[in-house]
């Protein structure tokens, strides 16, 4: 089968009525479930996997892939409206999306998020299609030392969002790394920081920590302020919707750059799924005009950058999954499982004899992203009006659902205690201007960081930092962290010359 034949065959397979219907079902299920805190695309795919046994190959692919492909778009709804991240990839959306909602611009923020998400999804899929021939050498180039430094890079990027006191961001990022080490060390069997507690033996799960760190402090903030999420009159919802779409199109260059960041980060197995949003946000904040002053206060560019990247990264994360059979994220590992159920084995086979399946994936990314974004844009009005609801109605209901969301993660009551503890800690951090996002990043990347640190040490001892790519990345990292100081010195020297 030639490449062009595979392109068309891939499209025709998913446009068949039953397959298309399953794609629509996947879109509706995913959009509904990810709006519940703690219930992400992983839960939805896990629930639908048994269905794959009863479906035709392309029907199953349409159902499973569409659930995964559109979850990032729907994730933005709760992030923007209630500062509750729908999943680990939508945390950075909160930083500017939620303040926009509070300023009465929920409609504009949602519309910009959905449009950017669709554009990012299309961009990611195109990059995936174009990169198929040049995949292997790229990923093989990176070894454990490079992965370890890339993880440090991710944490440092997020810490640069911490305003003048970047040390605070770094400290909290490192705290996240340490929290990730709680539990029984898988290799040595040593319990670390568990204090004999059974819940802690399994380590701290991401979902209860995320709900605790982000949702609970925002609910406390609503209680403290005693007013609805949006204290302002909602601006004209129709014009907000149009404005959001216009914003995404006007900032097309930011969309492309953020999508590229998303694809690039998404390509790195284990790293991309949870950090692409932070990388894109950090990139936009560092490069956009006056972003240092306006980001975090409700700048639509913050929303556009994050949502372009989160959907574009899915195209990137498919690259190692399809080419080498290395799932780019834990959700993709489930998609991978679904593919195996219907007899499709990622790796060499999917790039040769089953190339039509690969292109079905690509078409699904494009079509499902566009349909979801359109559907979400149509329902913006009721979504935006939710920000006007009194906090006395919202707070108890979201709290109750958050408690179940934390529990649903592993059916363990201890996770609710974890959520409550991180809720109080998150409130404390927020009250005193310590950024919470780096903690999550450290927690997500901790196990990978530890594995790569140990492997790098075994292979090269501490000399691993001197390897060419590792060394270059470290120098770049130091430059990024030290850039404001270097810039200030440069400006001072220029001033003295004049």
């Amino acid at each position: 089968m030639s490449t062009w034949d595979a392109v068309w065959a891939g499209l025709i397979h998913i446009l068949e009525p039953t397959a298309f219907l399953y794609m629509m079902l996947g879109i509706v299920i995913s959009s509904t479930l990810v709006a519940l805190p703690g219930i992400g695309s992983k839960t939805a795919i896990a629930l639908l996997l048994p269905l794959a046994f009863t479906l035709d190959k392309f029907e199953a692919i349409c159902l499973i892939v569409s659930v995964w492909a559109v979850s990032n778009t729907a994730n933005s709804i709760t992030s923007i409206l209630f500062a509750v991240p729908g999943g680990s990839g939508s945390q950075a959306t909160i930083l500017d999306g939620y303040p926009m909602a509070r300023n009465g611009e929920a409609s504009r923020a949602l519309s910009a998020a959905f449009t950017s998400s669709a554009l990012g999804g299309i961009f990611g899929a195109i990059v995936l299609a174009l990169s198929l021939p040049v995949l292997k050498p790229l990923v093989i180039l990176l070894g454990p030392p490079e992965f370890f430094v890339l993880i440090l890079f991710g944490i440092a990027m997020v810490s640069t969002l911490s305003g003048k006191n970047k040390a605070k961001g770094l400290v909290i990022g490192i705290l996240g790394l340490l929290i990730s080490s709680v539990g029984i060390h898988l290799v040595s069997g040593i319990p670390r920081f568990t204090f004999g507690n059974l819940t802690l033996m399994d380590g701290l799960n991401l979902i209860p920590v995320t709900i605790g760190l982000f949702a609970i402090p925002e609910l406390i903030s609503l209680v403290a302020s005693g007013s609805s999420i949006s204290k302002m009159e909602l601006n004209n919802l129709d014009s907000g919707r149009r404005q959001g779409i216009r914003d995404s199109l006007t900032h097309w260059w930011l969309v492309i750059r953020s999508s590229l960041v998303g694809v690039w980060v998404g390509m790195i197995p284990g790293l991309g799924s949870s950090v692409a949003d932070w990388f894109a946000y950090g990139h936009a904040r560092a490069t956009e005009k006056d972003a240092e002053k306006t980001f975090g206060t409700g700048d639509v560019r913050g929303v556009i950058a994050v949502d372009s990247a989160t959907n574009a990264k899915e195209g990137g994360s498919l690259i190692p999954t399809l080419a080498f059979g290395i799932p780019g994220s834990s959700t993709l590992a489930l998609v991978f499982g679904g593919l195996l159920i219907v007899g499709v084995k990622p790796g060499k086979e999917i790039l040769t004899t089953h190339l039509d399946v690969t292109f079905s994936f690509i078409w699904l990314l494009i079509i499902a992203s566009v349909i979801t974004s359109l559907l979400c844009i149509v329902f913006i009005k009721p979504l935006a009006k939710a920000t006007q609801v009194r906090p006395t109605l919202l707070v108890p209901i979201i709290c109750a659902v958050s408690v179940v969301g934390a529990f649903a993660n592993s059916n363990n009551f201890g996770d609710i205690i974890v959520m409550a503890t991180f809720g109080v800690f998150g409130y404390w951090l927020r009250l005193h201007g310590w950024p919470r996002p780096p903690l999550l990043l450290g927690l997500v990347l901790g196990p990978e960081a530890e594995r790569h640190l140990w492997t790098s040490f075994q292979l090269y001892e501490w000399e691993f930092v001197l390897r060419p790519i590792t060394g270059s990345l470290l120098i770049l990292l130091i430059m990024i962290l030290g850039w404001p100081t270097i810039k200030a010195l440069f400006v001072k020297m220029q001033g003295e010359k004049l």
């Binding site: 209680v223 005693g226 108890p396 209901i397 529990f407 409550a420 201007g433 310590w434 950024p435």
Partner: protein, 163 residues
């Protein structure tokens, strides 16, 4: 407790935590200790630096308002005495919410606590009943039946009615 005292306690608590993790890490086998020791050794000087910068910034007349902090900013209305009183009540209710889920089960405890919260905030009775029922529908229909999530019965109800 004043805000500045709370801020100082937060910084010092982090410092104490990292010192503990460093010493605890040093007692572990090399492989298990690598990340804790590496991370704690970096975190201790960085925490000291963060506290120093924070104190220095506090002493300056300029405020932090000229640059965003990378997290959602705290508004004036959230740090008033009245706001802290509301937050204390919220913490009490939240603790009761978790305790009720544990003692009388998710399906009874959570809707009940939602109902109490709504009534305590002078919401109309019919609306309170409707919203609490909606929570029950979400829990039972959405989570227990739809997602096949076994929501546990409470310890107290198990004792009284034998599950």
């Amino acid at each position: 407790m004043s805000l500045s005292a709370s801020r100082a306690i937060l910084g010092l608590s982090l410092l104490a935590l990292f010192t503990y993790t460093l010493f605890a890490g040093l007692d572990m086998p090399f492989r298990a200790s690598m990340l804790p020791v590496f991370a704690s050794s970096l975190a201790i000087p960085l925490t000291l630096l963060a506290i120093y910068i924070e104190r220095k910034t506090d002493n300056q007349i300029t405020t932090q308002a000229d640059e965003s902090s990378g997290d959602l900013a705290v508004s004036e209305s959230e740090v008033s005495a009245d706001a802290f009183r509301r937050v204390r009540y919220f913490f009490l209710w939240f603790a009761c919410l978790i305790a009720s889920a544990h003692l009388i089960g998710f399906l009874i405890g959570l809707p009940l606590m939602v109902f109490i919260y709504l009534l305590a905030h002078r919401e109309p009775l019919t609306l309170s009943i409707f919203l609490s029922s909606m929570v029950l529908v979400i829990l039972y229909g959405g989570f227990q039946k739809g997602l096949v999530l076994p929501l546990p019965e409470g310890v107290l109800t198990m004792m009284l009615f034998g599950g």
